[in-house]
């Protein structure tokens, strides 16, 4: 019997991490993601794991580096300004090809901004907020159920590709409570022969992102990473197309704003207007091919974000006839409104 429980997004994510075998969590508090460390501090000791509140975000991400290098399943979480502080570590993690899960429950910015939900970190997440030629997988949940399910998936993807997987949520998703059926462990096992496990009876392993000597040329690593990113781009695009087959008007969104769009689509359909929704589940790799198909017949494509226009660049790069692409966004912790989306779609008809 899959029993439904009422759970907060941040806590669902924490429990899902434990289900996925995460036994190490390092973090530093910041609203609106504080329920993640609070939950992990209570649950991890019960599971024989380690919760540690680091002295800073920098310390936390480097503890993640260490635990991952030792072969552990490890997670950290923060919100926008805290994730900025972790970018150096994320770049090093990319260079050292270490698997880990990083959660960003976005809040308004720039700077310290405010504590309300936002989607202002799309560029930072998908373009590489740290230095160097690297990518990270970015998952974008839209419900509490997905906060849990995508967290379980994130740990498998991280281990499979030896990459940081970012779960990109927003303050509303962190704070919302919904019915949840707890996910099951996938049972997948990933060998980690590269891990630093004490070199008994084998040659020592080395995990580093510094490559100064020609024999271990940096370009060689860059090309290996590039191959990996190409493979991920080919295999791991995820999205949902909702009522897109006959859509004259296509909304494109992710996370909380996609739910507001879905409401608008339902209400427009009731009025006989053929609207549809294309929702990202991965922001990198960007599901360009699926979007091209979903947008094939659309007269107009309205990108809706809780920012003043970031994902729209990927939308324009992906669709045929990008002049069809329009934008509606709210920022600073404000939410797009169903009525405003409907008003804009109806205006296209005139």
């Amino acid at each position: 019997m899959n029993e439904k429980i009422l759970m907060k997004g941040n806590e669902a994510l924490g429990e899902a991490a434990i289900i996925a075998g995460c036994r190490f969590y390092f973090g530093y508090p910041i609203t609106p993601q504080n329920e993640v460390p609070a939950y992990m501090s209570r649950r991890l000791p019960q599971e024989g794991g380690t919760f540690l509140q680091a002295e800073s975000e920098l310390a936390a991400i480097n503890m993640v580096y260490g635990a991952s290098a030792a072969g552990a399943r490890v997670m950290t979480s923060s919100s926008s300004p805290g994730i900025s502080l972790k970018q150096e570590g994320l770049s090093y993690i990319a260079g050292a090809e270490l698997p880990c899960v990083v959660v960003n429950i976005m809040r308004g910015g720039p700077g310290l901004g405010n504590i309300a939900g936002s989607q202002g970190d799309y560029f930072q997440s998908t373009r590489g907020g740290g230095n160097g030629d690297y990518r990270q997988l970015v998952l974008t949940p839209a419900t509490v159920q997905e906060m849990a399910d995508l967290t379980v998936l994130a740990f498998d993807l991280a281990d499979e590709y030896r990459i940081a997987v970012l779960i990109l949520g927003d303050g509303y998703l962190g704070q919302i409570s919904e019915a949840l059926v707890l996910p099951k462990p996938t049972g997948k096992v990933f060998e980690k022969p590269w891990a630093l496990t004490g070199a008994k009876g084998r040659k020592p392993n080395k995990v580093a992102s510094l490559r100064l000597v020609p024999e271990t040329s940096l370009e060689e690593l860059n090309l290996v990473l590039d191959e990996k990113y190409k493979k991920i781009s080919a295999k791991e695009c995820r999205s949902e197309s909702y009522l897109t087959e006959d859509a004259d008007y296509l909304l494109v969104a992710y996370g909380t704003s996609s739910r507001i769009c879905r409401e608008a689509v339902n209400e427009l359909r009731e009025e006989g207007i053929k609207a549809g929704l294309f929702r990202l589940i991965t922001a990198w790799p960007f599901p360009a091919e699926a979007l091209r198909i979903a947008s094939a017949k659309a007269k107009k494509i309205l990108t809706v974000e809780m920012s003043l226009g970031q994902m729209i660049e990927d939308v324009k790069l992906s669709v045929k006839d990008p002049e069809r692409v329009d934008f509606y966004g709210r920022s600073g912790g404000m939410l797009p409104e169903t009525d405003e989306i409907k008003r804009r779609i109806k205006a296209y008809g005139n």
Partner: protein, 176 residues
């Protein structure tokens, strides 16, 4: 059935918890539910509120810009949310603490002396239960009283569960 509900009051009146109680009760009757609390700085000293959606159908947007039901436990919450209630909607206000009458005539307004009912049952802290009891009487399709009472054991933390007898008394009193 599709209700978009705001429960609002000052911090400590248990409005967030009241919203969760409705959610768990309705969820256990196989309805779709969502609950977003106001959080962080909003909670410090000022008013607290939560946005609750309860529906027979899957919930798209969990936000509640225009509630079909508003429960307001203090005067600032009445001022904030009365104008937002959908025409034809329901406003339940705590007349123990709110002297003014609501002004809207295009919605149903119901006063309940939530603090007085709570006090009469021996507790100063169960006014939220009085409001929920009243709502259940007016909108039984959200969840049965039995489901609401059962949900108390899920929503109330273990250390406060000893007060559930009082909570149930207040719920029933306001419900009758």
């Amino acid at each position: 059935m599709h209700e978009e509900i705001i429960v609002a009051g000052f911090g400590g009146q248990g409005v967030i918890m009241a919203g969760k109680l409705l959610c768990v009760a309705a969820m256990n009757e196989n309805k779709y539910v969502s609950h977003i609390p106001s959080y962080g700085a909003e909670m410090r000293g000022g008013t607290a509120n939560c946005s609750v959606v309860i529906s027979d159908k899957e919930i798209s947007s969990p936000t509640v810009p225009k509630p079909s039901i508003a429960i307001v436990m203090n005067a600032p919450s009445l001022a904030k949310f009365e104008p937002r209630v959908k025409p034809g909607g329901l406003l339940i206000y705590n007349s123990s603490l709110i002297d003014q009458k609501p002004k809207r005539t295009d919605i149903t307004t119901v006063g309940i002396k939530a603090n007085d009912i709570s006090e009469a049952e021996g507790s100063l802290r169960a006014a939220n239960m009085a409001a929920i009891g009243k709502l259940q009487a007016l909108k039984p399709e959200i969840a049965s009283l039995d489901s609401v009472i059962k949900a108390l054991d899920v929503v109330i933390s273990a250390r406060n569960r000893k007060h559930n007898d009082t909570n149930i008394k207040v719920l029933k009193k306001a419900n009758s």
